[in-house]
């Protein structure tokens, strides 16, 4: 095709994965070359290594963590904080969302406060939670909850408001009482919105845990980073970032998996239906 039309871009999955790996490799090689006095001056290499660390040392540090077993305890703490913040934040958001969406008076009353609390940069609450709950796991969970709560809350609120009136009337004609309507219509409808925001809310729970650890803690991956930073050990900081990124990706994959299992009823969620 030599005319002005755009060429269709078509890459197979395997190819794409290969390109992804190549790109990552190029970045690492570039990083390596810029921090070693092979192509660049010794002075320049020293400076870049000070600010960006050396990739081989970062990988070595990461390897040490896993091989030496030191990281697991910290990962577990971060994971527990994330899961607790996610679970509790979701439950609270669901409850509050259902309640406010189904009770116009409560909703009208709470509206300005909800808006204000949502507008507030809530990460700033971390020091307060540290005072209230100490430097242990609780203050991180509390921070994560404040982040997760609003995402879930707004989605549930929306979900309940958008329940199809026809479906609702149908359930009522089939004999549903108030409690049954809640369980079989409002909650499933709200849950579908919650699940559609699952990636964001799990991510937020994770942010809450790590930021909380970073601001003051005795354990967790955020704590490792904090400690390394205090010692100007830039390689360990980058190793921590690497581990956190990999961990976040794993969590995200888990969420995708859960989503596919739980939202089969949604058009487009399940794979093409084969008879």
């Amino acid at each position: 095709m030599t005319d002005g039309r755009k060429r269709e871009v078509r890459i197979t999955r395997g190819r794409l994965a290969l390109y992804h790996a190549l790109l990552l490799g190029v970045v690492f090689v570039f990083w390596h070359l810029m921090t070693n006095p092979l192509l660049v001056s010794e002075e320049f290499a020293r400076n870049t290594a000070f600010f960006f660390g050396k990739p081989l040392l970062v990988l070595e540090k990461t390897w040490d963590w896993f091989a030496g077993g030191k990281i697991y305890e910290h990962l577990l703490v971060t994971l527990i904080e994330t899961l607790l913040a996610f679970g509790i934040g979701t439950a609270l958001g669901l409850g509050a969302g259902l309640w406010l969406a189904l009770s116009p008076l409560a909703s009208a009353l709470a509206d300005p406060y909800i808006k204000a609390m949502n507008a507030m940069p809530r990460v700033i609450l971390a020091p307060i939670f540290a005072v209230w709950f100490g430097l242990g796991i609780l203050s991180k969970v509390a921070l994560g909850i404040t982040l997760v709560f609003f995402i879930v809350f707004f989605n549930v609120y929306q979900g309940v408001r958008e329940v199809s009136p026809v479906v609702l009337n149908n359930a009522r004609m089939l004999g549903a009482g108030a409690g049954q309507l809640l369980r079989t219509v409002y909650v499933p409808s709200a849950m579908s919105w919650v699940f559609s925001s699952l990636h964001t809310s799990v991510g937020m729970a994770f942010v809450g845990a790590v930021v909380g650890e970073y601001l003051g803690s005795a354990r967790g991956v955020g704590y490792l980073i904090l400690q390394a930073e205090g010692a100007f050990d830039i390689n360990t900081v980058f190793a921590g970032i690497l581990v956190l990124t990999a961990f976040a990706l794993a969590l995200d994959a888990l969420v995708s998996f859960a989503e596919n299992r739980l939202l089969v009823w949604r058009p487009g969620q399940s794979e093409t239906d084969l008879l």
Binding site: V167, N170, A171, R172, Q180, T184, S192, W265, R266
Partner: protein
């Protein structure tokens, strides 16, 4: 057959006035002083131009909407809440999208506290009866329009209601599927005669199915224009019955009575 106490469903002098859309003191009277009686076991179709207030009237009969004036009697008793004796088939898709066809059909029994094994068997039975055996695991979005209507039919009939309220149930289907469903509906109905209020804007469908056709005027302030007894023999096949001379004559007669109203409604909709 007027306002007898033996009627299954009686709408007595129903008026429905909706309050203003948006601001102001404007009101819209959708239905005005309408009386309609359905005898036990009778199949009544209500026809009228789109927007005349057919769905509104059915919502009144279902107890989903309270009339501004007038009274609804169900099996002789005044209706004050949801109509427990009625099953409702909605114009739009009303299946719960997060439940499989099987669970949708079971739903009413579940609300009534029927044991899981019992309701599973009965739902399977009903799915088979509407021609969907083996499709119970599918979710509504995986079903065609006709299949969804069958599930909705089974969902309603499994509760064995005495009165069926059907709001243009087949109007979204293609003509073949629709005639198939009409015949199936007649089969199911004749097995166990329930009282049916069947809303449609299609006069042919109304005549082919019913014992009686009620024609509504165009809105606002809709009221019945006339009633026509359909003396076609049963059992009927909706395809064949349309070709009989008596059908054609009834159609001509009712259409003649309706025509002015349809044109009036059309003219009004053009003006808006």
């Amino acid at each position: 057959m007027q306002a007898g106490s033996g009627a299954a469903l009686a709408l007595e002098n129903i008026t429905v006035t909706f309050s203003a859309r948006g601001a102001g003191t404007q009101t819209y009277t959708a239905v005005s002083d309408t009386t309609l009686t359905i005898a036990a076991g009778e199949f009544v179709s209500v026809v009228g131009p789109t927007g005349c207030g057919k769905s509104t009237l059915l919502n009144i009969a279902a107890g989903l909407l309270e009339p501004s004036a007038g009274n609804v009697r169900v099996l002789g008793e005044s209706l004050s809440t949801i109509n427990r004796h009625a099953g409702y088939m909605f114009q739009a898709d009303a299946l719960l999208p997060w439940l499989s066809a099987q669970d949708n059909v079971e739903l009413g029994l579940k609300y009534r506290g029927v044991a899981p094994e019992v309701r599973r068997l009965r739902a399977e039975e009903w799915l088979a009866r509407v021609g969907l055996a083996g499709h119970g695991h599918r979710y509504p979005h995986q079903l065609s329009g006709g299949m969804k209507k069958r599930v909705a039919l089974a969902q309603m009939l499994i509760l064995d209601p005495k009165i069926l309220l059907m709001d243009e149930p087949f109007s979204a289907l293609d003509i073949q599927t629709r005639q198939l469903m009409e015949n199936e509906l007649l089969d199911l109905w004749s097995a166990d005669r329930k009282s049916v209020v069947f809303i449609t804007h299609d006069l042919e469908e109304a005549i082919a199915l019913s014992d009686r056709v009620v024609v509504l005027s165009a809105g606002p302030a809709t009221r019945p224009l006339g009633e026509f007894a359909i003396d076609l023999p049963r059992p009927r096949d909706v395809n064949e019955i349309r070709l009989t001379p008596r059908f054609v004559e009834l159609h001509r007669q009712i259409w003649h009575a309706m025509k002015d109203e349809v044109l009036k409604g059309y003219a009004r909709s053009q003006r808006v």
